[in-house]
Amino acid sequence: MTDAPEETGTLFEAPPMAEQERMVEAVLFASAEPVTLADLEARMPHGSNAAQAVEMLQKRYDGRGVRVVQVGDAWAIRTAPDLGFLMQKETVETRKLSRAAIETLAIVAYHQPCTRAEIEEIRGVSVSRGTIDQLLEMEWIRLGRRRMTPGRPVTFVVTPQFLDHFGLENARDLPGLKELRAAGLLENRPPPGAMPLGEGREEIENDDQSEMFEEE
């Protein structure tokens, strides 16, 4: 029972898919946090196909009290949202986010990767250190790559924890993302001439953003 999977793996064939599905089921049930396919396969016997097993499992739980959901490149089991009322006991009181924090979060999510100057330009007001810190602390946003513009400002992107919290498979699933983009509202339109707001902000290429959402 404590055989390392590697050992058995070299000696035997991968187990049948039904068995692989059971294995994925056991690991996903046991873990509170999402588990990546890579981690699943590392735990399963050599030659296993975690992706296929997860897909089968997801179908099996369709319509049940718990669901198999994708979170970024990982998978998790979560209760069906329509049964939330049963779980009052489990409800965690989350800190009430300020309006500034909620808006900042939305701006990062929809515009990521996004610099602080960009957040400030969109909101028309400076962003307090505390607001960003709170979101970082909640692990809903994290630092992304530095922008290749003068000053090399840091960017912010949303995290897998953010996706998990809002039940999103990935950042492309953000509600209304397509419409907003079609309306040109996610563009970083440089202001004509000087502007009183968000002054001193450098030109921003849009490369980063498309990369972020179009990948895979």
């Binding site: 089991i77 979560r78 965690v92 939305a106 701006i107 909101r123 039940g167 001439g193 502007m195 009183p196």
Partner: protein
């Protein structure tokens, strides 16, 4: 300029009350753009079709009122007021053909874009927060089991490590790596040590063979080792720039001499 500004547009009493409420509530605003967005709602039109001129006038009235009521306004608000006053003049006056800067329409269009974008982000934020949320509407496993990675560290050492370790202790003063059949091996380090002082005297081309250490030329095994080490050491000295090397033909003797260039 105060109330009569509002009368340019027929405004309802409710709208006017709302606009005045802004003043009292100035602390509740998230900056001038937020005020503009709130003001623009009174126009009840698509943000793209908003009258920036009317908006500028409303904002300026707002700032005037705040001043009259001696409400401290942040610098942001005053900068915006100055800019809107400038924009208003641009929009009202006929365009100056000699002016380089952006036209009043361009500036107004960008302001409208900013307002629309801010509104869009607020709507998006509201939609995001209205989603089912983890820990409120759906839940993770309450009693997660121990899913762990056990990291076992095994230490490895080879026989060579062991022997080198031992030789290192026993020969701490003159450390050399321990070699089992040392008596038949001439190392490059030994050859280098031997050649360094000698090469200074080699002003003319000399066969490399003459540099072989004494007592290493009889036994073929020892001779091979000494030759290889001496050759390697020679290359090293050439690389360091102390020496030159030549071979006139394949298998011809290799000759060495001190490097003489200045």
């Amino acid at each position: 300029m105060n109330d009569n500004l509002f009368s340019e547009d027929p405004v309802s009493v409710a709208d006017r009350l709302a606009a005045e409420a802004l003043i009292v509530d100035v602390d509740g605003f998230e900056g001038p753009l937020d005020v503009l967005l709130t003001l623009s709602r009174t126009q009840k039109v698509d943000l793209r079709k908003i009258s920036v001129l009317a908006l500028a006038q409303q904002y300026l009235a707002f700032v005037e009122k705040a001043r009259a009521l001696r409400i401290e306004l942040a610098a942001d608000y005053l900068v915006m007021a100055a800019w809107l006053a400038f924009l208003k003049s641009r929009l009202l006056l006929p365009p100056d053909p000699n002016d380089e800067g952006p036209s009043g329409e361009e500036l107004a269009a960008h302001l409208a874009f900013q307002l629309e974008r801010l509104q869009a982000m607020r709507d998006a934020a509201a939609r995001l927060m209205a989603r089912d949320q983890l820990g409120r509407d759906f839940f993770k496993r309450g009693q997660g089991e121990d899913v762990t990675r056990i990291r076992t560290v095994t230490y490895s050492a080879t026989l060579l490590d062991l022997m080198q370790g031992y030789a290192r202790i026993r020969t701490r003063d003159e450390f050399r790596p321990f070699v089992m059949d040392r008596d038949a091996v001439f190392t490059m380090e030994q050859a280098l040590e031997r050649m360094r002082p000698l090469i200074g005297f080699a002003g003319t081309w000399t066969d490399m063979e003459t540099y072989l250490p004494e007592g290493w030329d009889a036994d073929p095994v020892r001779r091979r080792s000494a030759t290889a080490a001496t050759f390697a050491a020679s290359l090293e000295l050439v690389k360091e720039g102390h020496m030159e090397m030549k071979q006139s033909d394949t298998f011809a003797p290799i000759q060495l001499r001190k490097r003489t260039d200045t």
